[in-house]
């Protein structure tokens, strides 16, 4: 009885302490232990060996934890751990944005697990010269704080090199403690960002700053996550005096030349190749493509589109078209990874594939290119690289995805086809193949003795025995567990 009473008292004290408490490393940061396991790109029915990632999460109230998305890419198991007591509980991902590299977790079995923790508030007002603290723990749970100094900000990728965001740079040595992937960064006890990279050579840290976190959390509030919008243009600088004269830009200041407009993007509704963008949302754009940010100075125009407005918002763009000034309003959209011909990234889901008679067909994705190693841009087959660089070549013909024959598993049905690999499939049994579903439909539904499979390149045409394929597939299904993944 006595010990029970003591325990009750302790809880009460903690609760009292929490009410008026300031965030601190001990009370506002928890350990996050994640087990990650991605799908095998070449044997898509398998997952690769699991790895472990030990990092930190920031308590953000409402029983939620904020971490970088990298912490939980392809997570199969996530644990939260209190550094002081080593108490653990299972957690789940509530929301994740891989482009913005942010995720929200919550305890999945014990909703009160974080009740004795002190949530962070966000500090979005960072400026050069600010002293901030990176928070982490010694292995015994003792908090460690390291002061670093904010120096500047730029627009760059977080961890996917296709998505550019505001990145704050800070200087000063940060000692690495084990289990410290992603350190919360505090300013005056509030959460100023997450430290996502640190180079010990030049003592430079990069911080994913609070304004981006705030955008992410605000977007989540209505339960429907829209994501960070993209404009969908490529642009060129207009520093060259001859080019400016040619564009009749002599009277204007700055401006960038629109050199490509991606079909179905935000820009496609109003911008054309040859337009010069002079302003976005009231900010003048200089001839390098930067605008003047009140705190950070020159920042890339992409921040005006991606970092501040939300998907669905309208942005005003001032342009020069054929020598005349115009203002256009564009509704901002976001292209989801699955909307691309070739998915730019894939996490938490396996490649879509189907095995027919031992031939492995798969939708081409960026992770597939990674199989060719660091030099994939020179080592991958040139036709696949061309498709990646110029998806419109295929999109115009109605392709939603590129289905490729990745390889032939040696079976009685694939005799003579063992060496075929990385071929773009165009038609099967006379039906155009625009995604893996088309291929399954074209083979499963066909009343043929041999499946006719056509490729864009050599050998152009092969046939598979339909009956034999069915028998082979049944055996392979037993061996692999599954022979297709269509969603």
């Amino acid at each position: 009885m006595r010990s029970l009473a003591l325990a009750a008292l302790a809880t009460l004290l903690a609760a009292t302490a929490t009410r008026g408490a300031q965030p601190s490393p001990a009370k506002s940061v928890v350990r996050v232990n994640a087990t990650l396991q991605a799908y095998n790109q070449i044997r898509p029915w398998e997952k690769i060996a699991p790895t472990t990632r030990l990092g930190l999460g920031a308590v953000i109230g409402d029983g939620k934890i904020l971490v970088t998305a990298q912490m939980v890419t392809d997570a199969t198991y996530i644990e939260l751990e209190k550094a002081d007591t080593s108490a653990k509980t299972i957690a789940e991902v509530v929301a994740v944005d891989y482009e913005a590299n942010l995720a929200v977790l919550q305890p999945s079995a014990d909703p009160d697990f974080l009740a004795d923790r002190v949530p962070f508030e966000l500090e979005t007002e960072l400026r050069p010269g600010d002293a901030v603290e990176a928070w982490q723990f010694e292995s015994n749970g003792t908090p460690v704080t390291t002061e670093i100094e904010v120096s500047k900000a730029e627009i760059g990728p977080y961890f996917l090199d296709t998505a550019f965001f505001l990145k704050v740079q800070a200087n000063g040595p940060v000692q690495y403690r084990s289990g410290s992937f992603t350190l919360p960064v505090a300013k005056g006890g509030k959460l100023a960002g997450l430290l996502v990279s640190y180079s010990s050579k030049d003592q430079i840290s990069h911080i994913l700053p609070a304004p981006i976190i705030a955008h992410f959390l605000a977007d989540l509030e209505d339960g429907e996550y829209g994501g960070f919008p993209n404009l969908g243009v490529a642009y060129a600088q207009t520093l060259d005096g001859q080019f400016r004269k040619y564009l009749k830009l002599n009277g204007a200041k700055g401006g960038v030349f629109v050199s490509k407009v991606i079909p179905n993007s935000s820009a496609a509704a109003g911008l054309k190749v040859g337009d010069v963008i002079l302003s976005i949302a009231g900010h003048d754009i200089d001839s390098r493509g930067n605008y003047d940010h009140p705190v950070w100075g020159k920042l890339s125009l992409s921040h005006l589109v991606r970092g501040q407005p939300f998907t669905g918002d309208t942005v005003e763009i001032g342009i020069l078209r054929d020598g005349e000034r115009k203002d256009i309003a564009l509704k901002l959209l976001r292209r989801k990874p699955e909307d691309y011909l070739i998915d730019p990234y894939m996490f938490d889901r396996g490649p879509k594939f189907a095995i027919v008679g031992g031939l492995v067909f798969q939708e081409l994705t960026m992770p597939f290119f990674q199989l060719f190693g660091k030099d994939w841009q020179t080592r991958a087959p040139i036709k696949l690289l061309m498709a990646q660089a110029n998806p419109e070549m295929y999109e115009e013909k109605g392709y939603r995805k590129l289905v490729i024959l990745t390889r032939a598993i040696p079976t009685p049905a694939t005799l003579g086809y063992e060496r075929l690999s990385t071929l773009i499939v165009t038609e099967v049994n006379g039906k155009p193949i625009h995604d893996i579903g088309d291929l399954v439909e074209a083979t499963a539904g066909a009343d043929v003795a041999q499946h006719r499979i056509e490729f864009e390149d050599y050998p152009k045409l092969i046939f598979l025995d339909a009956d034999l394929s069915r028998r082979v597939d049944a055996t392979l299904e037993q061996r692999f567990g599954t022979i297709r993944r269509l969603d």
């Binding site: 040619y246 629109v258 040139i382 061309m386 003795a449 041999q450 025995d465």
Partner: protein, 511 residues
Amino acid sequence: MRPHIILLSAAAILQPQWADAEGTRAAAGPAAKAEISNSKKYEAIVRIECSSLNPDYRTPWNTGRDSGGNGTGWLVAPNKFVTNAHVVSNSRIVYIKKVGDAKPYLAKILHIAHDCDLAMLELEDPSAFEGVEPFEVGGLPQLDTTVKVIGYPIGGERISITSGVVSRIDFLNYSHSSVDQHLTIQIDAAINPGNSGGPVLQGGKVVGVAFQGYSGNVAQNTGYMIPTPVIRRFLKDVEDGRYDHYVDLSMSEFTLVNPAQRAALGLPNDGIGIMVAHADADGSAGGILRTGDVLLAIDGRPVMSNGLINYDGEDVNMNEIVERKFAGDIIKLKVWRDKKPLDTQVTLKRFIHYLISAKRYGEKPRYVMHAGLVFQPLDRNLMTAHNIKDLQVRYHFTAYAHDEIYKERPEVIVLTTVLPDAINSYLGGFTQGIVDEVNGTKVRTLEDVHSALQRGGGDFDVIKLLGNGRPIVLERSRVAAAQKRIQEKYNVLRDHYLGDAEREGAPPEGR
């Protein structure tokens, strides 16, 4: 990875060799007398010394880099010497030296066949070889029979003889052009740099020309010679005073091993027939064969499902039939199409578009330099010299023939270099782009670039690159002065070279 095959001409600076030759003669004086019969025996085998100019595609306006080397040759007919094309490629001066005679005799190239690495030389003054008996060209030697390789390889100045057996007869890549494949014989006699072009003898007849091998750290005792079917074809081709090159069916084929593939095409499972995967539109079989056709017989010989035919009792590649033919020859094909037999024929011709991937020799690089921008037509030499990594250019290079890029662009023009100057200070990032349009003219050849820039189109020269919405813009009023300045600064004597009309591999009709 494919092992690197080395060519066997000794690349060395010419000057020291002259000095060596002088020294040898003085020292060997008395001994030479005693071996007169030997000199006599080998006097139809000559040392070929060559000094050459190798163009630099990075500075196409320059004359090129000097180099020299030597190889071997042999007398095939009065005053007709055979050697390898690579021994005398890009040559400026060629000398022939006779055994036991240090005097160099000036020679000229009568024919040079880069696609089979053979050349024919002739002396300005043939008197030194009067009465010398030319070699007879023999047949295909049997496996495991002995052959002798004679020539002037590294390791000394005088003639060298090695011997070995015929190890293998196969179709192999000829590394001189790097894209041509012909019959090749592998022997285990030592063949070393300098042996190139020399005769391989059996029973006193020439049965091959030594030409390539592996460096010692890749494979041992593997030397390659060009066999007599290839030599005879070359000799016959040049009989009319002109070399007309090899011809090609210009198609790719896929083995018919899979029973379903055979059943679907309506073929019995008898091991006969190979499927046509693709026939190049501009090639011999273009418009005659199509994807899904099955080639049952070529020139009356059944084609097996692995692409081999039986020829003189040996299973050889079906292309061996085409190998022995000449431009304009007709070849009969038995084809299986839509489950029915079809007899057809093909008039053989050279497939010119494959040359984009061949190493090229004896050509002055073509270019246009305008305001410091250097435009050059895409070929293998250009890819190598500029170490081109750009995906778009690599695609055009790789798929030029197969994807019929030549229809839209007989020449793919690349902006290779920007010679920095005030007029182009913001244009450095445009290199390795493919030129699509100049001053409103769609670019099909280098000539198009030149004439469109000469003509102009208003106040600005506007150059559009493929896949790049941002055009290159030059103020025309500034170009002339810049051109002069750049030519002086960078020592560009001529601002363009468009080539001779009869240049080998010039784009065909439609330019």
